[in-house]
């Protein structure tokens, strides 16, 4: 009798322990790869959801031809973000599932008005991950970018995420920033936020269609482009190209990049691959005056030489090395000037100052970005080394060309 009773209890408990109360069936959830946020009518939020269409991802090789795009876009509008997200239930046959959202795309207009609303809901909601990448849709709306199909990656959200990841570490003009990393800087007085931008070029209408992925050259390519500079939670301006890279040099985001160095009257005569780079910012306060020193250590090799110089000699190499140091220094100084012009301390110099002299920092923190930072003296020290010239020592081809 006891045995049977035990068995009965065992079965009952097994049912309880399965934890079915909160179950969500796989067929009932819509997995969202990217969320876009724009303004709709009357400054209401317009959210764009990029749903993964699992049926169209798997088994493409076997089935003849494409059965349809790997993603589906739905949009919804609401006065706040939660309302907009839930209103999507009217369009979507499934429960919205945010745990796999990799990209949070924000329209430029919204970014210029402030990100606070967006960040609060994304860190409060246990479903949404702080590891999602945050990107700003430059000169366009998030909606347009998310609607675009991409050829190499079936899910455009992955393309955006990966592009930023690789271009940050291999090129250095973009920033791969997650929501979690952005939050601490958004209201810090000592450090302003920077977020990468994405642009859509070409034919925006064609981008939404299969044609975009079926032509060899995408009709509407998506590019990472520039770094958005924030002040508080508002986007104020864009740093592009070399200026953006200068910011990354200081923020220690660069793992590898390429530098072009002028030689005599030839522009960009040497192409140098930087393989190692490390930056260190130190601060001190003397007589109530802050000083910042930026120290860069970089190491690389000559990968391209478009002029003649006897690179087999060490002293010649040192000359190129000095030119490289000057070039890096100029780049960094330019971006510091740029940030100073826009009165936004994106480098976190204030943070360094607050660590070395808290009393001084307490006095200036409210006027730091407006008054102190724009006139701050920053010393830039670059310690770059050219270690090797790879397979060829002397650029002998140019030697002969020069003889002509």
């Amino acid at each position: 009798m006891t045995k049977r009773l035990n068995l009965f209890a065992f079965i009952c408990i097994t049912i309880l322990l399965a934890g079915c109360w909160n179950h969500r069936e796989l067929t009932d959830i819509g997995i969202i790869a990217a969320v876009g946020i724009d303004y709709g009518q009357d400054k209401r939020y317009n959210m764009t959801f990029q749903f993964v269409n699992p049926k169209n991802i798997a088994g493409n090789q076997q089935t003849s031809g494409l059965s349809g795009p790997a993603i589906t876009i739905y949009e919804s509008e609401g006065d706040n973000l939660l309302e907009a997200a839930r209103a999507a239930s009217q369009h979507v046959s499934r429960q919205l599932y945010f745990a796999h959202t990799n990209v949070l795309m924000i329209g430029e207009e919204v970014a210029r008005d402030g990100l606070t609303d967006i960040l609060d809901i994304s860190i409060r909601n246990p479903d949404f991950r702080p590891t999602a990448t945050i990107v700003i849709a430059k000169d366009s709306t998030a909606e347009q970018i998310l609607k675009t199909l991409t050829p190499l990656d079936q899910i455009p959200a992955n393309k955006i995420d990966k592009t930023l990841q690789f271009s940050e570490s291999r090129w250095g003009e973009d920033i791969h920033l997650t929501v979690g990393e952005l939050v601490p800087t958004i209201y810090s007085k000592s450090k302003q936020a920077v977020v990468s931008g994405f642009v859509l070029k070409g034919d925006k209408e064609k981008g939404k269609q299969d044609a975009n992925i079926q032509s060899s050259r995408p009709l509407a390519p998506l590019n990472a482009d520039g770094i958005g500079i924030f002040k508080g939670d508002k986007l104020i301006t864009w740093a592009e190209g070399k200026t953006a890279r200068g910011i990354n040099w200081i923020l220690n985001n660069i793992q590898s990049t390429v530098m072009a160095v002028d030689w005599k009257d030839k522009k960009d005569a040497f192409g140098i691959t930087i393989n190692l780079s490390k930056s260190k910012v130190s601060a001190n306060v003397k007589n109530n005056k802050p000083h910042i020193t930026v120290h860069i250590d970089a190491e690389g090799g000559i990968t391209e030489a478009d002029t003649f110089l006897d690179l087999s000699k060490a002293e010649e190499l040192i000359k190129v090395q000095n030119a490289l140091r000057k070039e890096i220094k100029r780049e960094i100084e330019n971006s510091i000037q740029f940030a100073q012009k826009h009165k936004a301390d994106v480098f976190g110099f204030g943070e360094k100052i607050s660590h070395v002299d808290e009393d001084y920092w307490k006095k200036v923190e409210d006027v730091w970005n407006e008054e102190i930072f724009p006139n701050l003296e920053v010393k830039v020290e670059v310690n770059a080394f050219i270690r090797r010239t790879y397979l060829i020592s002397k650029p002998f081809l140019y030697e002969h060309k020069g003889n002509d």
Binding site: G19, W21, E351
Partner: protein, 374 residues
């Protein structure tokens, strides 16, 4: 009191799991900002002091529960009243921890499930464990201890590997705000979790080599203090101060940041696991102590008979002590420590120790006197 024995190792792991319990997952002492790690460490040292006070009383009355020896120290009437209040205290704290745990699961994982169900399942588990007795609880602790450390070490490695730790966030270290640090230590960390060791005074008699108790307890408290302190430091280093202060469950936020190669991520289960093990031992030990104190005070033959009623009381209390999470947590941080923890965790034990010391000195004198005369 049941007839059972605990080995030194079992005693040790029970203290560790009990101390880390829910403190690992809630934002413990986060008012001290980047110096939270230090306030936890300091709290653990004070906790050791509290522990020694309790242990000293126990050495005067070996193999007896506080509910019995308090009668010997302050007389039968007052002693019984004290014992009775301690039962209420343990039941209340048990309900508080149950609520902590339930709120956490509902906020994090079971958003559609009523709090009552989550709490009820935990209490059913505890009722079962307490019915089986302290030896079973101790053996469960041994197994779970290994699991907990396995998870903790894996988690630590993953956090280190994913390069999330920004030591800059811990700066400036211990500068200018000693006032805040000490306030946090005195009002929060010294009492929760370290002062809660008062529950273990009811487990001293089970220890098979009771001489080890003093060293074991101190060492376990110190080690759990170090563990909690490291966790707090990592949380601050990963989350930065503003987020650390405002997040409800810092450890969860930290774990959510882990992402290695876009592959090893979404490890929330680590957190749920730690929360589950820790909360279970904390609840079950308070529960057991409340039950055993009642058995001893009212001279019941068997503790098993009152386990179910106690389970219902704890479950009912855990539902009714607060109407929302904020009220619950504010009570726990602002009201409970000065008004309830201070008298029960340190006030009464110190008074008892002083009286016990004076009484026993007299006794010893009398003894030596009679010896001389004889």
């Amino acid at each position: 009191m049941e007839n059972a024995k605990l080995s030194s190792y079992q005693f040790f792991v029970m203290i560790l799991l009990f101390e880390m319990g829910t403190s690992l997952v809630i934002s413990l002492g986060s008012n001290a900002k980047q110096n939270t790690w230090f306030s936890i460490l300091l709290g653990s040292l004070i906790g050791i002091l509290f522990y020694h006070v309790n242990y000293k009383i126990y050495t005067y009355y070996p193999n007896e529960l506080p509910s019995s020896y308090s009668k010997k120290i302050v007389g039968k009437f007052l002693g019984s009243i004290l014992g009775y209040f301690y039962i209420i205290y343990f039941t209340y704290i048990c309900a508080r921890v149950t609520r902590d745990f339930g709120e956490l699961l509902v906020a994090v994982a079971y958003t559609q499930t009523p709090l009552f169900i989550v709490n009820a399942i935990m209490i059913i588990l505890c009722v079962f464990a307490v019915k089986k007795g302290i030896e079973v609880i101790a053996r469960t602790a041994e197994i779970n201890f290994a699991l907990m450390y396995l998870f903790a070490i894996t988690g630590l490695i993953l956090i280190l590997v994913s390069g999330l730790i920004e030591l800059e966030n811990l700066k400036p270290v211990l500068r200018n705000n000693w006032g805040t640090i000490l306030r946090v230590v005195i009002l929060e960390t010294a009492f929760v979790p370290f002062g809660e060791m008062i529950a273990f005074t009811y487990l001293f008699p089970y220890l098979n080599y009771s001489k080890n108790g003093r060293f074991l307890g101190s060492f376990a408290i110190l080690l759990s203090g170090i563990n909690l302190s490291i966790t707090a430091a990592i949380n601050v280093a990963v989350l930065s101060v503003p987020l650390f202060e405002n997040t409800q469950f810092p450890l969860l936020s930290t774990i959510q940041y882990i992402s290695i190669g876009n592959f090893i991520e979404r490890l929330d289960i680590f957190f749920i696991f730690a929360a589950f093990i820790g909360a279970f031992f904390k609840i079950v030990i308070f529960f057991y102590v409340a039950v055993i104190a009642t058995t001893d005070l009212f001279h019941l033959k068997d503790h098993k008979k009152i386990v179910y009623p106690f389970g219902l009381i704890v479950l009912f209390l855990s539902q009714t002590i607060a109407s929302n999470y904020q009220e619950h947590i504010n009570e726990g941080l602002k009201f409970v420590p000065p008004h309830i923890h201070i008298p029960f965790q340190i006030g009464i034990p110190v008074i008892l120790l002083v009286i016990a010391f004076l009484k026993n000195r007299k006794k010893e004198k009398n003894m030596s006197k009679t010896m001389k005369e004889g």
